[in-house]
Symmetry: C2
């Protein structure tokens, strides 16, 4: 019986074994750089663990694990370019290091490399597996577009339901897709892959709301990012959207004004005032409740999966790790 | 027995029937715009014709035809952004109309939509077909990178062999891949798909050298582009690279100087002088010979394919149309 550490280590090994630099090196160096930056490797780990849950053959999903992480890193690479984010995992992003065109083309190539990995391994369910991957990819693009649309909208034009729909597509479906693909390779029946997919959706939603909470309330030293960056960016995250739902008329009005304030306002003062409003409304507890609720639903789905309890241990550990995270 | 017009019309019908706008419309409108701009639709036409060559079922390749053209248009969309080309087919390019981020994300989505088309249709040879598509996609990315590398090199740093390798990847492999995929769906044996692939490579090379020739010697009114644009852009096309191979030491020196001249030189004067040098060296005849040679090799491959001569008519017509083109 495995535990989640086993799968995390296995994923680290798989990436260490793999070569990412080919010719022309101008194309592949940014790819190698991106894939070697590390990160939590959550998606390939979930894919392997889901495969193990249904007694799959680990060698059969090695390439799919590479494929799902390569795809994820492709989306980060292009997102960083579109969002003009200078840093990723504390290191300069590809467009700052090699320029916009390298970021575009190396990203495109990573999407194709993800496919190369997925296409290496035959499977009687190949078409179904690849469709699952591709429909997930399309949803991730749609989620990113919705996120970009929010930037051009005022706070009161975005509802909490719109936001949940956006993070479901941008973040949750890829966790869910990774799990489902791992299970499909192991020959799991549709009833079970559906539960596992939903487990991934709720885990992903919990993960993203946690991210929003950490931006407002995280310990900077542990979280690794400056607290309040979302507030500085006027980002329509779960925090202000919940505040707009729960606050008094006066609080809503002030918050809307703060979130449409331009560069002429003192940024630190703005962050302090917004956090004061969040505290008065009691948002920390609201978000913690929302996170617990998503983890509860995720657990419910995992509980319902029809395999021996001992086999579920790695995924339960993963959920606990994500639930307890401070960064 | 069909002719090439039959396949061209069929492709036009397939695109007219298809819907490309979904939600969020900010993501799909640039895709619809790009796919409706038209163009020659050479790749899907070749795919259908190759399928017909081996007696395939036309309905079975409808989606692959959509997929190959969607992929091609994705590469054009991102290339136009990277090259900062304001116009495509006489219309504003996506990045000029909707901005860089829309061009990046709508392009990414088009790549995924191409996959959606390819994944719709089951086939006993699905893995082989998809691998052919994906390896082609990777080569196209590599070719684009090589083309971008040439921009940062001086004329004498690029050889004609490097150039041929670049246009093979950037242009020819996609024609070859389209043909091979059409044939694979029809169940053609490997010996025949290889010949067809090579037919596509030589046709694609001929097509690109023609493009280079037309830039120097095309009739502006017919070609639709201003003659000499490649010269203005210091582009390492077949013309200057062949000149560097065939010219005298003095001519080479002058040409190298002209191709490294910066904005301070009168552009029209530069174009006139470069064309004079081309004429003295006799490049028009050189390129026409190179084009004929590629078409000859293409014809040789088509001749060798083991099917009834009457079935080859559409591909012969296509080759003749491309050979005789003035734009």
């Amino acid at each position: 019986m495995n535990n989640i550490k086993y799968y995390l280590d296995r994923v680290a090994e798989i990436f260490a074994e793999e070569q990412f630099v080919f010719e022309p090196h101008e194309l592949y160096e940014p790819i190698d750089y991106t894939l070697r930056l590390g990160g939590k490797r959550i998606r390939p780990t979930l894919l392997l663990a889901a495969n193990g849950l249904f007694g799959g053959n680990e060698e059969q999903v090695r390439d799919a694990a590479l494929g799902i992480e390569t795809f994820h890193n492709f989306t980060l690479l292009h997102d960083d370019l579109m969002d003009r984010s200078p840093l990723r995992r504390g290191q300069p992003t590809v467009y700052t290091k090699w320029g916009d065109n390298a970021a575009i083309l190396s990203g495109d190539t990573m999407f194709a490399l993800a496919w190369r990995y997925f296409l290496r391994q035959p499977s009687p369910r190949l078409q179904e597996i690849l469709q699952c991957f591709n429909e997930t990819a399309i949803e991730v693009c749609e989620g990113q577009q919705k996120d970009m649309n929010f930037e051009n909208m005022t706070l009161d034009q975005v509802s909490l339901a719109d936001y949940m729909d956006m993070i479901r597509q941008k973040t949750a479906v890829l966790l869910a897709g990774a799990l489902k693909i791992g299970a499909l390779y192991a020959g799991a029946p549709q009833s079970e892959t559906t539960k596992l997919y939903d487990f991934g959706i709720h885990t992903g939603l919990a993960f993203q709301i946690q991210d929003d909470l950490l931006d407002g309330y995280g310990d900077t030293a542990v979280f690794g990012k400056k607290t309040g960056q979302d507030i500085r960016d006027n980002k329509k995250s779960y925090l202000p959207l919940a505040a707009l739902k729960l606050g008094s008329a006066e609080q809503k009005k002030e918050l809307a004004a703060l979130f449409s304030a331009k560069d002429n306002m003192d940024e630190d003062k703005k962050v302090r005032r917004v956090l004061e409003l969040y505290n008065t409304i009691g948002l920390r507890a609201t978000l913690e409740k929302a996170i617990d609720e998503e983890f509860r639903k995720a657990k419910e789905k995992l509980d319902a999966i029809n395999v021996a309890e001992t086999l579920k241990k790695p995924l339960r550990e993963m959920m606990e790790t994500l639930n307890g995270r401070k960064k």
